[in-house]
Amino acid sequence: MTNQIVQGILLGGYYALIACGLSFMFSVMRIINLAHGSLAVLSAFALWLLASHLHVPPFLGLAIVLPLMAVIGWALQRFLLERSARGGALLPILTTFGLAIVIDNVLFEQFGADTRSLAPFIGSLSYDSWEWPGSIYVGKLAVIIFATAVVLLGGLQLFLTRTGLGRSIRATSEDPDTAGLVGVDARRANALAAAIAMVTVGLAGAFLGMRATFDPYAGATQLLFAFEAAVIGGAGSLWGTLVGGIVLALAQTLGAKVHPQGFLIGGHVAFLIVLFIRLYTSGLGLRGLLRFSTGKVS
């Protein structure tokens, strides 16, 4: 049991990483990015391409891919999401859904249906582990992913609270109209937030490729995990995302212990339980739930 809990906590780091960008975009721009998982897979493919064709190791490849993801995020916000947001709350959701389909099919067109992995390009890191007392084996990569998630969330927290740009993003998230009246360029703040979110997506995509296999249609599953972790942790709360990721992963690992098919079901059950608890503790039914999910960046 202890082993399952440790593995669950470490896996939670990955879920926090992939949920972080989704939660960040939602809390700042009020956009649920349904292309989130596909963009993570796009990042994984970019790293795979660099590693397999140009022999650039994935960790080094991040120096190329992460800035590219930031540019993609900025451009997405400026040229697609910002425009679609003018058409109401539903249009950006449909836009990102369409974007996900485009990304998935372009990747399929380019790379085919074969599954790929970045594991062959990171040497023994993909399977090396430390043995802890009690015969608990802790994967080195899993620890790196968890530590990266903690550092990233802590860094984002510091950025949002200690820097002028971070305060601008928080102000835009809270009241874009008033933010403009105090000199904050809300468009720039939103584009910056999208760029940051895409960097976190890129990082999550890299670790997805290192710890598992991926194919052009793997984005939907990653989106689902990200969405569940974000909702469990409370959309908009950075540290809540880590808690959400850990709860989701613990439920999955414990579910797998109960039954071989219980991995996914365990996670979905935990997600539904949290969802219904929120629904009833809010006391306002569905309306209360919706209010709950419009949390601000904190």
Partner: protein, 242 residues
């Protein structure tokens, strides 16, 4: 040349014309009181000057530059700061964070967080408190301080006494008097005629989106303003340039 010149400004809320061909000017260092009943168009006019509402026609010229099409955040950089009605603080942020948000890099001036706290001493012990936990007076002081942090050439104050106790209003106005004495150019929207007339150099009274009275605060009688306020005295139609 006026610091601010509003020329035949029309602002619409959908089909409703909230500001109807308003024209006036304000010189550097002056304080202008904008009075009028609820719905007269004062707040809309102020927000149009600040760039929060787009004008349907007419123009706002500030320091010689036409501000047509200039977004609100750019207007702050040019030196226009608005203290909006209802304070509109960022309630999840602390007083200090709200003040720091108002800072605009590159604008000359000596307003800093410490200077704001010296100007509004009641904020000193609340520096790290969340804005949502402040009293009405503290919130108003923070909102004014946030606007001052941009070192504005023109400060627009919208209903600074609204919802505050008389004692707190006295404190806010005492602080405002300091700003006025320091030469800050101010447009003040105020429901309280006595206070508006006592601190201002000029007064404009609006009714149904139009200026119905304009003049020097010292030469216009309270009775004249009251009549204009209730539409009993109309002077010109479409605005009286000051």
């Amino acid at each position: 040349m006026s610091l601010l010149s509003v020329e035949d400004l029309v602002v619409r809320h959908g089909l409703l014309q909230a500001v109807r061909g308003v024209s006036f000017g304000i010189e550097r260092g002056e304080t202008l009181a904008l009075v009028g009943a609820n719905g007269a168009g004062k707040t809309t006019l102020l927000r149009a000057i600040a760039g929060a509402h787009q004008a349907a026609s007419g123009r706002v010229v500030f320091d010689g530059a036409d501000l047509s099409g200039v977004p609100s955040h750019e207007r702050v950089r040019k030196g226009i700061a608005l203290v909006p009605e209802g304070r509109r603080l960022f309630v999840q942020m602390t007083v200090e964070e709200n003040l720091l948000l108002g800072r605009v890099a590159g604008r000359p001036g000596d307003w800093s967080v410490d200077k704001v706290l010296d100007t509004f001493p009641n904020l000193k012990p609340r520096r790290h408190a969340k804005a949502g936990h402040l009293s009405g007076g503290e919130q108003q002081a923070t909102a004014i301080g946030r606007a001052l942090m941009s070192n504005p050439d023109l400060l627009l104050l919208d209903e600074v006494s609204l919802g505050l106790s008389p004692l707190v209003v006295d404190r806010v106005y005492a602080s405002l008097q300091g700003l006025i004495n320091s030469g800050t150019t101010i447009i003040l929207v105020e429901q309280d005629l006595n206070r508006a007339l006592s601190v201002s150099d000029k007064v404009i009274c609006m009714l149904e989106g139009r200026i119905v009275l304009a003049g020097d605060s010292k030469s216009v009688s309270r009775d004249e303003v009251t009549k204009a306020y209730f539409g009993l005295h109309r002077k010109g139609a479409g605005g009286v340039p000051a």
